[in-house]
Point group: C2
């Protein structure tokens, strides 16, 4: 029997990686890369202009401008027929579970064999879901079955979070945001609660892991 061509979108900020993996998975003709995009915003724009909707979306989490979380939320809301395979560079359980919670259908880390990507795409196309061996974690299942609700972060919390990942003191952060130091502490406390940490250091590391803040060196540093 003839197999239909699977149309995919590939959303990743690393063009060379995209081109490379696309070259590999397209070589048999079974899979066609219909849309390539370098971040979520780029993708959603191209998607809204497209004549046909791709079957599957390979989606990275950590991207500039618009990350994988926001992209997946939009996708789930407006294009639920597009099934997402999260393809991420590091095996961060939390980040992956978050994506599953937002509606992704499968995930792979980039350290997988390239053929596995094809297998996963075909599996999602046929069965609607792809479970790698990592999917056995209890956290994963709790989220999949909606037993845990994922915390969302407000604008204020994101602002404080970003400024927490600098050398600024809370007093200085307060000045930047034009609120009192007590308010900054209050917002920080809700971040602590949501992320289940107790120190600023852990908060910031956590945010980096989740891909919520970029991890660049403090501006003043020379080496």
């Amino acid at each position: 029997m003839t197999q239909p061509i699977i149309n995919i979108a590939f959303v990743d900020d690393h063009e060379s990686v995209r081109t490379g993996i696309a070259t590999f998975i397209c070589r048999t003709g079974r899979i066609n890369v219909q849309i390539e995009a370098k971040n979520g915003k780029d993708f959603l724009q191209k998607l809204s202009k497209a004549d046909t909707i791709p079957d599957i979306c390979l989606l990275d989490i950590n991207m500039p401008v618009m990350n994988g979380y926001e992209t997946q939320m939009e996708l789930t809301k407006n294009w639920p027929q597009v099934k997402t395979l999260v393809l991420t560079s590091h095996d961060a359980e939390l980040a992956i579970c978050r994506m599953i919670g937002y509606g992704a259908k499968g995930f792979l880390v980039k350290s997988c064999n390239a053929s596995e990507i094809e297998k996963a795409i075909i599996s999602i196309y046929n069965k609607g879901i792809y479970h790698s061996e990592l999917a056995r974690s209890s956290l994963f299942n709790a989220i999949l079955h909606k037993q845990i609700k994922l915390p969302n972060f407000t604008e204020q919390e994101m602002d404080v979070l970003r400024l927490c990942s600098t050398q600024l003191t809370y007093a200085e952060i307060a000045k930047k945001l034009d609120v009192s130091e007590k308010s900054v502490e209050g917002t920080r406390n809700s971040l602590f609660r949501k992320m289940n940490v107790t120190t600023r250091t852990a908060l910031v590391l956590y945010a980096v892991e989740l891909g919520l803040i970029p991890h660049h060196a403090p501006a003043n540093s020379e080496l």
Copy 2:
């Protein structure tokens, strides 16, 4: 005139990325991937067993087991004829400059066009060096011309650094390392000086940026 085949090594922990990019750059036959490795240790082992030495090495920085820095130091010491093209996922000036300081001949971020990788390999093969537009930074040139010496980190400093990226207090870190809290503070102070920061938060972010510590969420967290 017939062009010689360029033999390369490709060292990156993401197998799918390696396969993908390799598929792309090998398609014309000009470049041959002679060695593939998933980290520095894996690479050096394969290199020492190889009959012929590759001309060029595509080297990632952030890898498990043995990172790009250590790998490049070994390479410069024992296989100086292998010219390194650093191929890294994020444009971290500090990390790149560090690699140049250790003897790498060029660098690219993975967000480049895949064809650029070919161009860079050929440029390094012919001219010994590849300068992307990022190479104009003053830091880059200062390091290239040995005007700045790169800090190295001692075992003790690395231990403290790793423990600093947890929720542990200095007193608890001291207990773990079986030294006094004052000693921990002393080691932390030398880390502060070397990295030119003043807070633990900045120190840890910096270390993540340099790829010196893995960025995983604190163990206790649930989400």
